[in-house]
């Protein structure tokens, strides 16, 4: 009998619960999710599960009021839902932008970081640790930790440190310690493993702020709940501004926190199509021999497996070794994806699509020069999708601008220079070439 056959009806029922409740009680999304962690971490996971239920779900001690208040006053919520006039004209479709790039820190990441650091405070923890890829989550955690007066250590792959120096500086400015991770290829998955090791040693007084809807239960549901404010606002704003729901919602997908945050309140609206845009890198083919996937498209090209605490879709070789992923955007460069997103794709509720590096760069330049918004390279993938597939979409599209692109300017210059990007600015007269 296959292992999936042994799953109970009860688990399937749990998975089918309404969008915003799914997974809350047992962390299972169909056959995905769960808690695959070293035994030393299990008591901390149980303690966190208890705290999540008390403070987040049951609002004990007014946790959620304080969270909402801090999101408003410190974070600057709500963020606008803005009509993109030029893009609407270009695609002959109503395009609306959810402006998470205007959140404090410049990305949606603050929603979750602030929620978790505040929760750690309510739990009586004394120290915060986190890992970061592009640096956006690390920056948000460092800001939240400074705001709430908690000492904070951030692990970051050495390669990512070199790609994202401004964010490293921001983390340090906010008083966090940044520890380089040199194992493997020095990217996000190695940083996650290293942070888990720190946690295993310091679990009694330390909270690990996982930055996406990945990891062992309760992280995937808890992070989704903190990020769901994006779709809560977007749904209300869409109805208020346009008189109805959008036909399509588009969000880029790495680990999936921005994606699930943007989708959460729309999942039960079955007429709204949900599109998760993954990083197609240079190609969706994988080089099994070298253990390299030149993309980060776990939903598209991944297979079921167990990594970093959860069963989900992973980029792995036939032996189960995790592959090195790739994306022009280090924020999407991860070999796994949140278990809930894997489940929703299997259920055909979410449409997974992939956009390659070239199209993402075109999206980066297009949003910048048509709407005056420089997006993060992560976000740019969503606009690459819009350019390629706008004819397949309905008449009213919401795209989440998950973050702003200031952090990516060096990478964007370097990557643009290597390609012939049609809508890129010509800098040759200023520098003799970019």
């Amino acid at each position: 009998m296959s292992e999936t056959d042994t799953r109970t009806t009860e688990e399937t029922e749990t998975a089918r619960r309404p969008g915003r409740e799914r997974g809350r009680d047992d962390g299972k999304f169909g056959r995905y999710g769960g808690q695959y962690v070293p035994e030393a971490l299990m008591p901390a996971i149980e303690e966190l599960t208890d705290a999540y239920e008390r403070y987040v779900l049951n609002n004990e001690d007014g946790f959620m009021e304080e969270f909402r208040e801090r999101l408003a006053d410190f974070g600057g919520r709500p963020t606008p839902l803005q009509r993109a006039d030029r893009l609407s004209e270009r695609y002959d479709t109503e395009v609306y932008l959810k402006r998470e790039d205007l959140l404090h820190g410049g990305a949606h990441k603050l929603n979750n970081a602030l929620g978790q650091v505040l929760l750690a405070k309510y739990m009586g923890k004394e120290r915060i640790i986190a890992e970061t890829g592009a640096g956006q989550h690390g920056t948000a955690t460092a800001m939240a930790a400074a705001h709430l007066d908690m000492p904070c250590t951030i692990y970051m792959g050495e390669r990512d440190i070199n790609r994202q120096r401004p964010n490293v500086f921001r983390m340090k400015l906010n008083g966090s310690e940044v520890k380089p991770v040199t194992t493997g290829r020095g990217t996000l998955k190695e940083a996650i493993s290293e942070t888990m090791r720190d946690w295993a040693e310091t679990v009694e007084d330390t909270h690990y702020v996982i930055g996406s809807i990945v990891g062992p239960h309760p992280f995937p549901v808890m992070v989704r709940d903190f990020q769901a404010v994006i779709s809560e606002e977007a749904r209300e704003q869409a109805i208020e501004k346009t008189g109805g729901l959008p036909t399509d919602v588009v969000a880029c997908a790495g680990g999936g926190s921005n994606t699930m945050g943007t989708f959460a309140h729309f999942v039960d609206d079955e007429d709204v199509a949900l599109h998760a845009v993954e990083a197609g890198g240079s190609t969706l083919e994988v080089d099994e021999e070298a253990g390299v996937a030149p993309n980060s498209a776990s939903l598209f090209a991944g297979e079921e497996g167990v990594l970093h605490g959860a069963r989900t879709k992973l980029l792995q070789d036939s032996d189960g070794q995790i592959m090195e992923s790739h994306s022009v955007s280090s924020g999407l460069d991860y070999a796994g994806v949140g278990p809930e997103l894997a489940y929703l794709v299997d259920e055909e509720r979410v449409d997974p699509v992939a956009v390659d590096d070239d199209a993402a760069l075109e999206g980066f330049h297009r949003l910048s020069n048509t709407e005056g918004i420089i997006p993060a390279l992560e976000t740019a993938h969503a606009f690459g999708y819009l350019e390629a597939h706008h004819e397949d979409l309905g008449e009213r599209v919401v795209v989440n601008v998950s973050g702003r692109g200031d952090k990516d300017l060096d990478a964007a210059i370097e990557e643009t220079d290597q390609r012939d990007v049609a809508n890129a600015p010509d800098m040759s007269m200023f520098t003799g070439g970019m």
């Binding site: 292992e3 035994e39 310091t202 189960g320």
Partner: protein, 281 residues
Amino acid sequence: MANSDALDAAFADGPAYVPYLVVGDPDYESSTAYVEALDRGGADVIELGLPFSEPIAEGSTIQEALVRSLDAGMTPDRFFAFAEDLEVDAALVCMTYYNLIYQYGKGEGPRPFVERAAAAGIQGLVVPDLPAEEADPLREACDEFGLDLIFIVAPTTRGDRLDRMMANVSGYVYVQARLGTTGARDDVSDQTTASLDRLGGYDVPKAVGFGISTGDHAERIVAGGADGIIVGSALVDVVAEGVAEDLSTAEVADRLEALSRELKQGAERGHRSRTGTVESA
């Protein structure tokens, strides 16, 4: 619910010495010589590490060994061939991460891995990222093929979790001496005694691991009530030194055998002092 007679036998006569090495570190042939040296040094059970690319429970010493092994081309199938080729008296246990076990089944769950392991002469499994709550499919496969499933009890494991784990464990229980990841330490944690005390009521051998690197540590751990000692990083360090200093395979094997003898003798001294204490009382 003991499955494997071999593991029962290993703990039957005095304290068990349970060394760990990463299979294929730094290469297949040297690794064979190293594991056989552990056997000559007095190993009762040998834990064979099958490398996974994301070993979140390991410290840097073992992680680097896993990378050396993977770089040298280790795969689950080569691992099983390695186990079959070994000429050792000690019982063999495979230590690896769940994704490799799961993926080996190609959609059929953990059963194919366990079936192959049993055919290769493996008598038990340790899976550091598989808590008892998620272990039912693997437990069933182990029962079917007569393998023991060994769980790790952490210093933080108590109450219902401990009961659930002890209801599922067989062979021996791996008592984690202190919080954190694997890695040799200069001293032995006080958390060990507390963990052994909590496990006193359970009728299964208790082997203590994490941080043991000398005969003196082994002696104190066994004198403190352990039925066995598990040693990983201190032995992997010897292999790593061999790589760094470009030593011959025979020289590294000699060092491993000598350290094994020291650890085994330390465990036996601890056992004598414990039974002596019991007799004088």
